[in-house]
Every structure is written in C-alpha cells, then in structure tokens.
C-alpha cells in the first residue's frame, strides 16, 4: 500500500469511517421507515439532520484533512442532535405517556440517537487530543484514505437528496404532521 501513514492520515481515515457509521444510523432509520412502515415524526427528521450535520464535519476532515473548524462543525451537529433527541425522550419519559415507534434492541430510535450523539462527542473530543494531526501533510496519502472519504461524501449526498425527496412526499409543502400516517 503506497502513501505515508502518519497521525494526520490515520485520523483522516478514522473521520471517513466515523462519517460512514453516522450515515449508517440514518440508513437504519430508513430501513425501519420502509420495512416496518413507520413514518418519521418531525423530531425524528431533525435527528437525521443532526446525524447529517455531524457527518458533514467528519467528511470535511476526511476529504481536506483534519481542521479544528471541521471538528467544531461536527460537534455543533452532535449538540443539535442531543437537544432534539433529548426533547423527544422527554416527551415520553413519564411512564404511561406512550412512545413513538417500536423499540429496537430495547430502546426507541430517539434514545439510540441520543446515545450515538453522546458517543460521537466523546470520540471527537478524544481524537482531538492528537495534536500532530493538524501538522501539514508529510507526503501523499494512501489511496484507501481518499477512497473512504469519497465514499462517505457520496453517501452524504445520496442521504441528503433521498431525505429531501421522501420528506417532500411525506410532508408536502407545509409543516410535517406531528403524527404522520404516510410512509411515502
């Protein structure tokens, strides 16, 4: 495998893989939407936006190299996601107030989303400890790093476009209904 493996390169690869992990959560939500025919609520759509925002920050790191502004953007996306998912949890936190959708492995999707966002905040904070990632590149990056970054970018584009389409069909031009009934 050609290319230089230094801290910057490893972190770029980790960011690309992290973006794919975050995007896979949105794909999972899509799976539940179409396989179990559960239309997403407005807050669920906003949680997807939090995932996409986090993914954009990580994709920028993977594509153009780690920069504090990219990490800052990813953290803002995580914090937005935490706010929305906490609101969604709080809506149903009192026993007997019901829930939205079915539980997956014991937790509802908004609870999983909260845990994912918190985990991402911790992971990003830890990765930022490695100061040498912000040094200039010492040589050409291995091809796998560029490939993973490109795949993550394409997945982000596809996810944003797909969500724009399915949300337009579900909500039409007005605000999304609080209790949606149509999947597509």
């Amino acid at each position: 495998m050609t290319g230089t493996w230094d801290t910057r390169t490893v972190v770029r690869l980790l960011n690309g893989l992290g973006a794919l992990v975050v995007f896979s959560v949105v794909f999972g939500a899509y799976g539940i939407q179409f396989i179990f025919l559960e239309p997403p609520c407005p807050l669920c759509l906003l949680i997807r936006i939090g995932m996409i925002a986090t993914g954009l920050g990580l994709v920028l790191n993977a594509m153009y190299g780690p920069k504090p502004i990219h990490y800052g953007f990813a953290l803002l996306g995580c914090i937005f996601g935490v706010i929305v998912s906490l609101r969604n949890i709080a809506l149903h936190i009192v026993p007997g107030t019901g829930s939205y959708g079915d539980a997956v492995f014991g937790f509802h999707l908004y609870t999983w989303a909260f845990l994912v966002f918190m985990a991402m905040i911790i992971v990003i904070a830890v990765v930022m400890f490695f100061q040498r990632q912000f040094d200039p590149p010492s040589g050409p990056s291995p091809k796998i790093v560029t490939v993973v970054a490109t795949i993550a970018l394409i997945v982000g584009i596809v996810l944003s476009a797909a969500n724009a389409f399915t949300t337009a069909v579900e909500c039409e031009l007005g605000p999304c209904p609080d209790n949606p009934t149509r999947v597509l």
């Binding site: 407005p42 807050l43 759509l45 906003l46 936006i49 939090g50 996409i52 925002a53 954009l56 920050g57 994709v59 920028l60 594509m63 153009y64 502004i69 990219h70 953007f73 803002l76 996306g77 937005f80 706010i83 929305v84 609101r87 970018l153 982000g156 584009i157 944003s160 476009a161 969500n163 724009a164 389409f165 949300t167 337009a168 909500c171 031009l173 007005g174 605000p175 999304c176 609080d178």
Partner: protein
C-alpha cells in the same frame, strides 16, 4: 419546509464535493441555524419545564 432544509444540507455536501470547503461550512452553518428554527417551530406549544 423540512424537505427544503434537506436540500440546503445537500447544497453543503455538493459544495464540499466541488472543493468549496469554506462555502460548504457557511452553507452548513446556515442550515444548522435553519434547523434550530425548525426545531423551535415544532416544539412551540406545550413547553412546560420544571427545573
């Protein structure tokens, strides 16, 4: 409205793909602010906090 928000996010990714890194961040930040406004819109009623 929410679909338009996703289109703004799509714009941020497309800007990143075209090498416009700074533009991507600017569009992303604008989209994040719009997303916060959308969140506020969807929780505008029945907010009762007991801290």
């Amino acid at each position: 409205m929410m679909a338009a928000l996703f289109i703004v996010w799509l714009g941020a990714f497309v800007a990143a793909a075209k090498g416009r890194r700074n533009l991507s961040i600017v569009i992303g930040l604008a989209a994040l602010i719009l997303s916060l406004a959308m969140f506020r819109f969807h929780v505008s009623d029945n907010i009762t906090l007991s801290l």
